[in-house]
Amino acid sequence: MTARQIAKQLSTATLALLTGLSPALAQMTAVGEGEGELSIVAWAGYIERGETDKAYDWVTKFEESTGCKVTVKTANTSDEMVALMNEGGFDLVTASGDASLRLIAGGRVQEINKDLIPSWSTIDPRLQDAPWHTVDGKHYGVPYMWGPNVLMYNTELFKEPPTSWNVVFEKMDLPDGKSNEGRVQAYDGPIHIADAAQYLMFHKPELGIKSPYELNEDQYKAALDLLRGQRQLVSRYWHDAFIQIDDFKNEGVVASGSWPFQVNLLKADGQPVASTIPQEGATGWADTTMLHVDSKHPNCAYKWFDHQLSSNLQSDLSVWFGAVPSVPAACTDGRGMQTAEGCTANGLDDFDKIRFWTTPVSNCSLGEGACVPYYRWVSDYIGVIGGR
């Protein structure tokens, strides 16, 4: 091999290495012209352009001012979001805490340069460096919305809001004297195991659960046992918000863990429902907009980052979804429809009562390999729903 050939091979190798790695290494240093398109993986109801309800639109103005045409792919569960991002072809994802760390570990999202986001400083300080999007001091996303997983209940049946999650976990008689069997629902996602663990935290302190996302074998087993009991009460689990809405209307379901989104839609439809956070507290979600490592439209994405913090989005979305803005000022400064009372009702003051979704990993604060990792949650929850 001549020197020239070697040099040629080396340069090819370097080039290959550079092109292969550059998306992961390169952090944006300046925001340029928009690329004309932006595709977002989002929860249902998160990206509204006035088509569901004219009053709720935070996309049209963005498209007009930046020229970035927004397309949305809705996902029903965090696992679905991770899968879509693994497939690729999307720019942004509104990932919850149980997806964000997996996306970072899988190398699917890129580091964010927060200096390019003028409104970064307006974010709630409690969220700015939150562990579900900040790893080793590097930021991998921009906080979007957060809120609790509430207990939705039928107000005709419950004259007083239920004070405990036991209505969905334990066999019992409801206020109308009939059993809750077949009249309650639970979330069709493995993360629901954390709700069971949180219930046990309160009612069985002897188990010593510190965090519902960090369970050792015994605690995990206790949570699964509780869920097996719940299987006897639940005729159908919900994973699609609209099927749950239908089940509350036509299937006689009177209580279930839910999102404020369904509560608001059912209320708007004149159904007798309300929501509450019982004494055990609630799990919650804190979503972060993250940028795909191979995004073809990074400029549009950075424009969206600032748009999501500075426009009417935070305020109006918080009304629409029943969530809490990541920018506290959005509650009061009149940029949208949200008010201080509305934010309080959606849980602004309950931040400390909420245990936010995070991905369970085996190396947790209890020690190396001490906790049951998420993949077992997945397969065991399929087993529980299958009656095993």
Partner: protein
């Protein structure tokens, strides 16, 4: 010096025609290439890709597929909850096939042997009509029909038959809180959706039973029941088996009905859908997808033994 004989220059089409005339095989292979490519690359190729995926495994935390050959994913199929899914799906497919066959036979028999002229057209239309509307619309409609506060419960109340409905729903194992959240509901919707695929091949088979044979059977002193048992039924068997192949495999692969109507317990199709779409576990999804292929191969072998393909 004589001038060479001048033939008119031949165009491309002329030359191609000559080529095809001299070598008929060239034309044949040209005509066959596109469909064979479709079958080989798009159809079998994607199946092969699927098979390949099932030998990979998944990194348990990040959910990224590790492209190394392993049988670990197949071993996972034998976990209790996954075996449950397979068994549940096969049982449901068998039940749906049986249900379809029982309901379809009289309909097909009447349409094939007794309906004449316009009535025959009405039968064909009646069977085909549901196939023309959207599958999803039909399933959602059934969810409402079967709901606890749906029309069946309402009708049962109005006719004072709630006792019967509740008795049916309290059957352990297949009952539930309402029809829409029980196995019975899933079964009913499956039977409704796949019924046309059972009726049509059955009707075709019954139409082919020559009436001379029935007359001969009667002449020889067979009762109607005997004729049915020993002449009509065996001759219709290939049609029944052909229909059962449709209903069995369609039920086994479906993932929408059990998601909307039923108890949320997984079926193979639903498990595949959730594992690849929701959990990103493509290897396990692929391994699950191989299960119906294997079951159908066994089923087809048995069907072949029974003569389902003799008429082909």
């Amino acid at each position: 010096m004589t001038a060479p004989a001048v033939l008119p220059a031949r165009g491309l089409a002329d030359r191609l025609t000559a080529l095809f005339w001299r070598h008929p095989r060239v034309l044949l292979s040209l005509l066959l290439a596109p469909p064979l490519l479709w079958l080989g690359v798009v159809y079998l190729g994607s199946l092969a890709a699927l098979l390949l995926q099932s030998f990979y495994s998944i990194d348990e935390f990040s959910g990224v597929v590790k492209e190394e050959f392993t049988l670990k994913t197949y071993a996972e199929l034998f976990r209790a909850q996954n075996l449950d899914i397979i068994l549940r799906t096969v049982l449901m497919s068998a039940a749906v096939t049986l249900g379809c066959a029982l309901i379809a036979f009289p309909i097909a028999y009447y349409a094939a042997r007794f309906a004449k002229g316009r009535w025959k057209a009405v039968f064909y239309l009646g069977v085909m009509l549901p196939l023309w509307s959207s599958y999803l619309v039909k399933v959602y409609a059934w969810k409402l029909i079967l709901a606890k506060e749906g029309i069946i419960t309402w009708a049962a109340d109005a006719l004072h038959l709630s006792m019967v409905l509740n008795a049916i729903l309290s059957i352990p194992g297949i009952g539930g809180n309402s029809l829409s959240t029980s196995w019975i509901g899933t079964f009913l919707v499956f039977v409704y959706i796949w019924l046309p695929y059972m009726i049509l091949p059955m009707q075709a088979a019954l139409e082919r039973v020559p009436s001379s044979m029935l007359e001969a059977s009667a002449d020889l002193g067979a009762s109607r029941a005997q004729t049915f048992r020993t002449v009509v039924f065996p001759l219709a068997m290939p049609g029944i088996i052909a229909g059962s192949i449709f209903t069995f495999s369609l039920t086994m692969g479906d993932y929408i009905i059990p998601q909307i109507v039923g108890t949320s317990a997984r079926f193979i199709g639903l498990a595949v859908y959730q594992l690849q779409g929701t959990a990103g576990n493509i290897p396990l999804a692929a391994a699950f997808a191989v299960v119906p292929i294997v079951i159908m191969l066994v089923y087809l072998t048995v069907a072949k033994r029974m003569g389902a393909f003799d008429a082909l």
